[in-house]
Symmetry: C2
Subunit: 261 residues, 2 copies
């Protein structure tokens, strides 16, 4: 175990940068998993090395001790920080003070996609993206493709909202969605209020490429034109629309119902 | 129209307090609706008076002008603030600078509840509560009862996430849920991973009292014991659970599917 005690330590400075700056994370190809649950999920699913960061108080916490042992068993470096230095690093108030510094996993889109896939066109809110990833993984969907305008999937906020779902998925980022849609071996399906076909009437008992868009403006017109199938979640006329993560969950689990039936 | 130009104006000070403090809103029984969409939704659904607050730049914006006219037609007071004073009031970055100061609507729970109702036991995240309200209204559910530990439904953050759904619902707040469950004329239904009954197999083509809980710890043990029906959303064994707002949406729309069938 390594102890860092000075704010001026270059490794500590690097950690602070990674914790606070999306640009620094992108440049370094690294991200931070905050809290016991995400650290455990990482160890469960990923064998790559990682650096564990723990506060001095954390070292004595019953939920952290086995995690530190797990890191050491894997040959991962463990860095212990004074509480004040750890607190300046963490974005979580009153969280358990343990984190992992990891290389951001990167996936290349396979040439032919045959299984259900989710395409996200400009989803902005980290909580929404995390919730969509969690629902996709819960519905046993394996592939999520984030278009260029979508928030960074491996940011600490999205990771927290995803609650470990990231590690059950193949997440592809920063892609031009219009280039992907040509490669799909299945119908591109978008939700729309301008169609009569409900999700209950549509044939979803097959692989589908689900397309969801920006919280305010929805899917871009260009991508919408490429949709093979538009479906609607039958809603009260009093309400304009649902939250994008709620809509996605309803669609994924209607598909699951049809697949299980 | 009234112009306020000084930060020391007592009415401006009151607005700032209401904008920034949940306690001040609770004490005054008032809240703030931020942005064009919520103001419009209020005018569409609620006839009570409200005070409109607009920035000087806002007064010249094409989406604000008709809203100001609408407020004046209703005899509502309109207060114009210099941009800097308005900005200090708003929690929305780059939003359209118009807001309504309203009396927080209060509903008393009717003695016998016969229609589907949603009970929320300690939902903490404003985005989740807003999303649940939006999904409930979209599924034509009319009643949402927020237990004592649930975040304030009429807070600006929940209002923004609700996107106007508040005005299509009867929202009851600050209640002891265990006292409500005795009055219900329908099964109390909770989601659980410890049951074999899926939402698809359960009979949901009838009024149901849906029970959802805290993001981390779920529904309290005491309330869980009162559930007449526990159902599960069939999920991948790799995933522990879904986001509470996503789960609620899936349940509401499976019920809607069964009701429409």
């Amino acid at each position: 175990m390594k102890h860092i005690t000075s704010r001026d330590n270059p490794r500590y400075k690097e950690m602070r940068q990674l914790a606070s700056s999306a640009q620094a994370r992108k440049k370094a190809g690294k991200t931070i998993l905050d809290g016991v649950h995400l650290c455990d999920a990482y160890f469960d699913h990923i064998s790559a090395k990682a650096i564990m960061i723990v506060s001095e108080s954390g070292m004595r916490m019953s939920e952290v001790v086995p995690l530190v042992a797990r890191a050491e068993d894997r040959g991962s470096e463990v860095i212990c920080l004074p509480d004040a230095l750890y607190a300046a690093l963490s974005q979580v108030e009153n969280g358990v003070p343990v984190a992992l510094l990891i290389d951001t996993p990167v996936c290349a889109v396979p040439d032919g996609l045959h299984d259900t896939v989710v395409l996200l066109d400009g989803v902005q809110d980290p909580g929404n993206l995390g919730s969509i990833l969690r629902s996709a993984a819960a519905a046993e969907i394996q592939h999520v493709i984030c278009g260029q305008g979508t928030v960074a999937a491996w940011s600490p906020k999205v990771l927290r909202a995803g609650m470990g779902a990231h590690f059950a998925l193949n997440i592809y980022e920063g892609l031009e969605l219009s280039a992907i849609t040509d490669k799909l071996q299945m119908p591109l399906c978008a939700t729309s209020s301008h169609t009569e076909t409900t999700i209950y009437a549509a044939n979803l008992a097959r692989p589908v490429a689900w397309l969801f868009g920006h919280e305010g403006s929805g899917v871009s017109a260009e991508l919408m034109q490429r949709a093979d199938l538009t479906v609607t979640i039958p809603q009260s006329p009093k309400i304009e629309s649902m939250n994008v993560a709620a809509s996605a969950a309803v669609c994924f689990f209607e598909q699951r119902r049809q697949l299980l039936a």
